[in-house]
């Protein structure tokens, strides 16, 4: 229990630290962006006086340190500032809907990859015969080499355009109507993580099958199905949790490109639009939200891991 609380404490500190670094880092970074946001908002023919007034209003005239300090102060209150391009609109209200799209895509993809990866990995480990094992390993290798957006292109062509099983992109905006739009992109995104999980589960299952307690269960006449479900499966699934947590960053990066292939209105589309209009607060907000999301996700993975594995609670 003490380990548990300490782990959570360390992670919580990490979230604060990451939020701080990202806010400071993006403030310095966006200062380097060529072009003046005030000019972009008001257009080429704006008068110098209007430009100066807007720069004042946006807080661009203040020294860099003061800008960073004020950004940090607002952040503590959950305020990410207001958008440059959409005057008077909160960054949080712009990012929110996009985050919901990307978040649900990632969640469905994680669900698909855990269910699919564990099943396939266990199956490869249990099927005896070098042919099945070789074939399974080969398929996993090919899928690991396949970038998510390419998986998206292939699935889009085969399942949507050829077989007509799903719409060729778009977003309904309401649940459960979104389900028919989300399953194909989520499947594409799950290919990489799913094969990573399958490979890990296969190895863990093979390791477990070689343990003395499996041998003992077998000699006592415990049925094979019971050995697999009660002894092999729990041990084989354990390494999956930290694996998913560790790959959260890759998953978000992949989600953004898969969204582009399937024209989903997620963070990728929002980021792109904000960069083209030099909407600095929105860009900062997206960078911050994704970075913090990944740390929070790792925190959850740690918590689930400790809850699932009694050995982690007893040690230390």
């Amino acid at each position: 229990m003490i380990t548990f609380i300490r782990t959570l404490g360390v992670r919580a500190l990490q979230i604060a630290l990451v939020a701080f670094f990202v806010t400071v880092g993006t403030n310095i970074l966006v200062r380097l962006v060529p072009g003046d946001p005030a000019q972009t908002i008001l257009g080429e023919r704006a008068s110098p006086a209007a430009l100066a007034a807007l720069r004042q209003e946006l807080g661009l005239e203040a020294p860099l340190l003061q800008q960073i300090a004020s950004a940090l102060g607002k952040l503590v209150q959950g305020d990410l500032g207001t958008s440059f391009a959409h005057r008077g609109q909160d960054v949080t209200s712009l990012i929110g809907p996009a985050l919901a799209v990307t978040g649900s895509l990632a969640a469905v993809a994680i669900l698909f990859s855990i269910v699919g990866g564990v099943t396939v990995g266990l199956w490869i480990a249990l099927v005896r015969g070098p042919g099945a094992d070789l074939a399974g390993r080969l398929v996993i290798t090919v899928l690991l080499a396949l970038p998510s957006f390419m998986a998206g292109l292939i699935l889009l062509y085969a399942l949507s355009l050829r077989l007509g099983l799903a719409p060729a992109g778009g977003w309904a905006g309401t649940w459960p109507a979104n389900a028919q739009y989300i399953w194909l992109p989520a499947l594409a995104l799950a290919m990489y993580l799913g094969s990573l999980i399958a490979r890990t589960v296969r190895q863990a299952a093979l390791d477990t099958l070689g343990q003395p307690f499996i041998e003992a269960a077998r000699t006592r006449g415990v049925p094979r199905s019971r050995i697999v479900l009660c002894h092999v499966l729990p041990n084989a699934v354990l390494p999956v949790i930290p694996l998913v947590g560790f790959n959260a960053g890759i998953l978000v990066g992949g989600a953004v490109t898969v969204e582009a292939v399937f024209a989903l209105p997620g963070l990728g589309a929002q980021l792109l639009q904000s960069m083209s209009t030099r909407d600095l607060p929105v860009v900062q907000g997206i960078a911050l939200v994704t970075a913090v999301a990944i740390v929070v996700f790792n925190l959850l993975a740690d918590a689930v891991n400790i809850a699932a594995d009694p050995r982690l609670r007893r040690s230390h």
Partner: protein
């Protein structure tokens, strides 16, 4: 040096690399096939990658094995011209962080100062916390997607700068962890007892034992980079058209996927053959997939 090597009971501390032979050979074969095709096809077939060779959206035929694209350029010729660019960019993008990250990580790992270690770890933490794709995208857009440095096409300098700026962190992590292990070994203690200078211990004893670990990761990193470079056009960045690049050929093909699958999918096929080859080489070098990642 020789005296140390001949000490009784000394064991190799380099990572035990036991390549699975067949997998390694097939992997190298696939990678070489794509690399050779990228070198030879543009030499043997003198068609300009931007020349209009026929009517647009022709399906694959013996004359144009991958068909023609939306304006009537030969996709087959473009894919292998693109391969030259993608592979060279990935190699450049891997080599610089491999060298700088390995050196930085070994220095940090060898340093006895807690402050140096803490600062280095927090800097890498902050960079690793970002989703790599989004960080690179932001940097690419800050530098400007159309910044041009002569031998490289528009878009390439900003990609390389972004990758060089970010990617050394993972190599530094790996090198640091590896150095921490190595410096416990007897032979490092022996070099210290022999009174070797710090520079000598670092360059002749630590680095030779550290770099196989980072170099192994570099192979899989090259594949990640090829995927990243090819993904950028889908996010509005990347190599600017009309320069042929795997990603922008596929992005262009996405728009006409229902009428002309061959533009996107034949390119994807070539990239996948290359990627599978690299993946097999990686698999045979590290039997445990998790070991190649940071610790």
């Amino acid at each position: 040096m020789a005296a140390v090597a001949e000490l009784p009971g000394s064991v190799s501390v380099r990572p035990q690399i036991r390549p699975r032979r067949l997998e390694l050979r097939v992997g190298i074969g696939l990678v070489l096939a794509v690399v050779l095709a990228c070198v030879l096809i543009p030499i043997l077939n003198s068609t300009d990658p931007n020349a209009l060779v026929g009517s647009p959206l022709q399906p694959p035929s013996s004359k144009h094995p991958f068909g023609t694209d939306t304006v009537g350029r030969d996709v087959f010729v473009r894919v292998f011209h693109a391969g030259r660019l993608d592979i060279v960019l990935a190699a450049l993008g891997v080599l610089v962080p491999l060298v700088s990250g390995t050196v930085i990580g070994t220095l940090v790992g060898a340093s006895r100062s807690r402050a140096v270690d803490a600062i280095a770890m927090r800097v890498t933490d902050a960079l690793i916390a970002f989703p790599f794709t989004i960080l690179v995208l932001v940097i690419v857009l800050v530098i400007g997607a159309d910044t041009q440095i002569p031998p490289l096409p528009a878009g390439a300098p900003s990609i390389l700068a972004a990758v060089w700026l970010v990617n050394w962190t993972i190599y530094a992590r790996l090198a640091r962890a590896r150095t921490h292990v190595i410096r416990q070994e007897d032979f490092v203690a022996a070099t210290r007892l022999l009174g070797f200078s710090r520079v000598r211990i670092l360059t002749r004893h630590l680095l030779p034992s550290v770099w196989p670990t980072t170099a192994t990761y570099a192979v899989s990193d090259a594949l990640l980079l090829v995927s990243l470079i090819a993904a950028l056009p889908f996010l509005g960045a990347g190599i600017q058209p009309p320069t042929a690049e795997w990603g922008n050929i596929m992005y262009e093909g996405r728009g006409v996927l229902s009428q002309a699958w061959w533009i996107s999918l034949s390119t994807a096929g070539v990239v996948l053959v290359f990627g599978t080859g690299v993946m097999m080489v990686v698999d045979s070098l590290v039997s445990n997939p998790r070991r190649a990642r940071l610790s």
